[in-house]
């Protein structure tokens, strides 16, 4: 009997593992697709049926980061010989373009990527910081009309943001906030704030207020008690909230497209703009997308322990 049940258990485990592998494959396939495209030669990327085995190359990344000129006629042998290996690779790949000279001329991608980082990081810090303090206030003090205020804060999320895009754009234009980092930071902070307040209130409610009261009686101010006792206890919640806010800001497309075009443009509207006027540069777009996926993956990976505890907070806490 015991042997049978243990055999059943082993079979069950096997099925579970196979199911997990299958689901993981399904979820990873688009990521594999985009990542492999980023390393494909240009003509291989669009071949039908898709090529699985190919000689990977880094030219899409080179093209993503640097600029070069369209050649009107084939380069002279001297020019070709003087060009660095990756330029030769691009030229040999069948494209009539070449970067002449040794100074590297960067494309706009690094700048757009940096814009995305600045806007997302700053707006996440602001949204989580303000949200935590607001949530603390709601959680710990008797506030007149608390329920109404909290509902008001939540209600800012009930409208699809794009609905207000045009009025926002007009307002931003009169305040000279279009195409500025500050403009996007304000916008994303406002988007994330209500979410951050609600999420953080849940987390802070879970922290017994007796801890701070003990600190108050022990000679600390409310502010010191907040930083010494509440913040360390809320770290898990803060991490979870930060990941969600960061992802929202990082992936935001519509407002970034409307509000920015050059100086403060972020990566999401920039990458598709590279489709260009001629043939779509699928490999370059794929390379840009792969790099774009990395920060969120790294950030989530770093906070993974907090995140797991954070999203299952109410369930496993006594």
């Amino acid at each position: 009997m015991a042997a049978v049940s243990s055999r059943n258990q082993r079979f069950g485990r096997l099925v579970a593992i196979l199911a997990i592998i299958a689901v993981t494959l399904v979820f990873l396939s688009p990521i594999y697709w985009i990542a492999s495209t980023a390393f494909k030669p240009r003509n291989v990327a669009t071949s039908v049926p898709p090529t699985v085995l190919f000689q990977p190359e880094v030219t899409p990344f080179v093209k993503l980061f640097t600029k070069r000129v369209q050649l009107k006629q084939p380069p002279t042998p001297e020019v070709y010989a003087a060009a660095p290996w990756w330029e030769k690779a691009i030229y040999d790949g069948g494209e009539r373009i070449l970067k002449v000279g040794n100074d590297v001329q960067l494309s706009q991608y690094p700048n757009r990527f940096l814009n995305s980082l600045i806007v997302s990081v700053v707006s996440t810090i602001l949204a989580v910081g303000m949200g935590t303090i607001t949530a603390y206030g709601f959680s710990r003090f008797r506030i007149k009309g608390e329920a109404d205020l909290l509902f008001f804060i939540l209600s800012t999320r009930m409208l699809p943001p794009v609905v207000v895009a045009i009025p926002m754009f007009l307002m931003y234009r009169s305040f000279d906030l279009t195409d500025t980092h500050l403009g996007l930071i304000i916008l994303y902070t406002a988007f994330n704030l209500s979410f951050s307040v609600w999420l953080m209130k849940g987390f802070i409610d879970e922290i017994p207020k007796e801890y701070e009261e003990a600190a108050l009686v022990d000679g600390y101010t409310r502010m010191q008690a907040f930083f010494k006792i509440v913040l360390p206890e809320a770290a898990t919640g803060i991490a979870a909230t930060a990941v969600f806010c960061f992802i929202t800001a990082w992936n935001e497309y519509a407002f970034a497209l409307i509000m920015t075009n050059r100086r403060a443009q972020t990566a999401p509207p920039f990458i598709p703009s590279q489709i260009g006027s001629g043939l779509p540069e699928w490999t370059v777009i794929a390379a840009g997308t792969v790099l774009f996926l990395l920060p969120v993956a790294i950030f989530t990976f770093l906070l993974r322990n907090h995140l797991l505890r954070g999203v299952t907070f109410g369930a496993i806490r006594k």
Binding site: P208, E210, Y211, E213, A214, A215, L216, V217, D218, G219, Y220, T221, Q224, I229, P232, E233
Partner: protein
């Protein structure tokens, strides 16, 4: 010196009145117990003294100074709670050092070390100092949180049911330890509990609270022997007092429905010209079960407590508890006879429940 005075204190939360016209005067160095059922306002009173809540009306004085506008940090009181009283993530040593590191005290490293060593020795927690607080048992946690109060050398110790989460055996040990500690420190202790045994055994004086009012203040023996009303009488004392409804006629208690009659004496009766409907209170130890006693009853139930037996007697519809020596052999449904000590019978107004002796005074 830390005398605590609460003068006509009221506290209202929204539509709920937690305390109403509360007066208390706790002497310096006194072990003062606030006793009452859940919701009586004990914890609110403590939080008002600690400065965690502001009174809606009235004045709180510590050592004669009006502290109404003072924050908790300035009042120099220590608070020990029933639970959640230790800072998480910190070791026992860090917990003990925490109050000393506040900007108000700003103690030197040597000073902190000395005080922690003293508190740890006093409470016998030296071996726990480097442990994280989540690795402590309930009793150890409670000791550490008392230690965190001791290191500060506060003027007043406020304790909110510090023993309620401990098991019975440990609670008993901690009771005498706390009392002993208070004697050695000579500090003012205000101790909140709903357990009348703690109040009786530990308090120099106690206040019985109910529904936001102080019902009676006094030494435990006074409160026990001369309760102000039926609420205090039944709340204090274990096993609980017997309260019987009846009439007073010719200095005799006629317990209704007419099942028995016994004499009453003592202060209440001699002054009580007032005859008529009344509630009679008699403690189980003042009920005598003896063969020559005047009233016949049946044994309804027997509880053996080891040092004595508590028997429940049934007379008609009335049940009445008596304590008898443990050696006495009794069985359920045995016929026995009982009487009571007329001097020990308390008379309460049938309508208001107020002790007539208090009413006369």
């Amino acid at each position: 010196m830390a005398r605590i005075q609460l003068d006509n204190i009221s506290k209202v939360f929204g539509h709920h009145t937690a305390l109403e016209h509360l007066d208390l005067d706790v002497a310096d160095g006194e072990f003062f117990v606030l006793l009452g059922p859940t919701g009586a306002g004990k914890t609110t009173t403590l939080r008002l003294i600690a400065g965690l809540e502001k009174p809606t009306a009235g004045t709180i004085r510590i050592s004669g100074l009006d502290v109404n506008s003072w924050g908790p940090a300035e009042r120099d009181v220590a608070l020990v709670l029933q639970q959640y009283s230790l800072y998480p993530r910190l070791t026992v040593r860090e917990n003990l050092a925490f109050p000393l590191k506040s900007r108000i005290r700003n103690a030197s490293a040597d000073e902190i070390e000395t005080r922690i060593a003293y508190a740890a020795r006093t409470l016998r927690i030296e071996h726990l100092l480097d442990r994280k607080t989540d690795r402590l048992s309930g009793g150890e946690m409670q000791r550490v949180s008392i230690g965190r109060a001791i290191v500060r050398e506060p003027r007043v110790f406020l304790m909110d049911e510090p023993l309620s989460n401990l098991d019975a055996k440990l609670r008993e040990t901690m009771r005498s330890e706390l009392k002993d500690l208070q004697r050695r420190l000579g500090a003012t202790f205000i101790f909140v509990t709903h357990d009348q045994v703690e109040a009786m055994t530990m308090g120099d004086r106690m206040a019985v609270l109910n529904n936001g009012h102080v019902i009676q203040v006094g030494k435990p023996s006074e409160v026990y022997n001369n309760p102000r009303n039926t609420f205090v009488a039944s709340f204090v004392g274990s096993p609980a007092i017997n309260l019987l409804h009846g009439r007073l006629a010719n200095n005799r208690a006629v317990v209704t429905p007419l099942t028995f009659e016994l004499p009453v004496g003592g202060a209440g009766a001699s002054e009580g010209a007032k005859e008529g409907a009344m509630t009679f209170g008699i403690r189980p130890e003042d009920v005598e079960v003896a063969s020559g006693a005047p009233v016949e009853a049946r044994i309804h139930d027997v509880e053996n407590h080891g040092i004595e037996k508590i028997v429940t007697l049934r007379v008609g519809d009335n049940l009445l508890r008596a304590s008898i020596p443990a050696q006495t052999e009794v069985k359920v449904e045995d016929a026995v006879r009982f009487g009571w000590d007329p001097e020990k019978v308390m008379l309460f107004d049938a309508a208001t429940g107020v002790n007539l002796r208090h009413e006369a005074a």
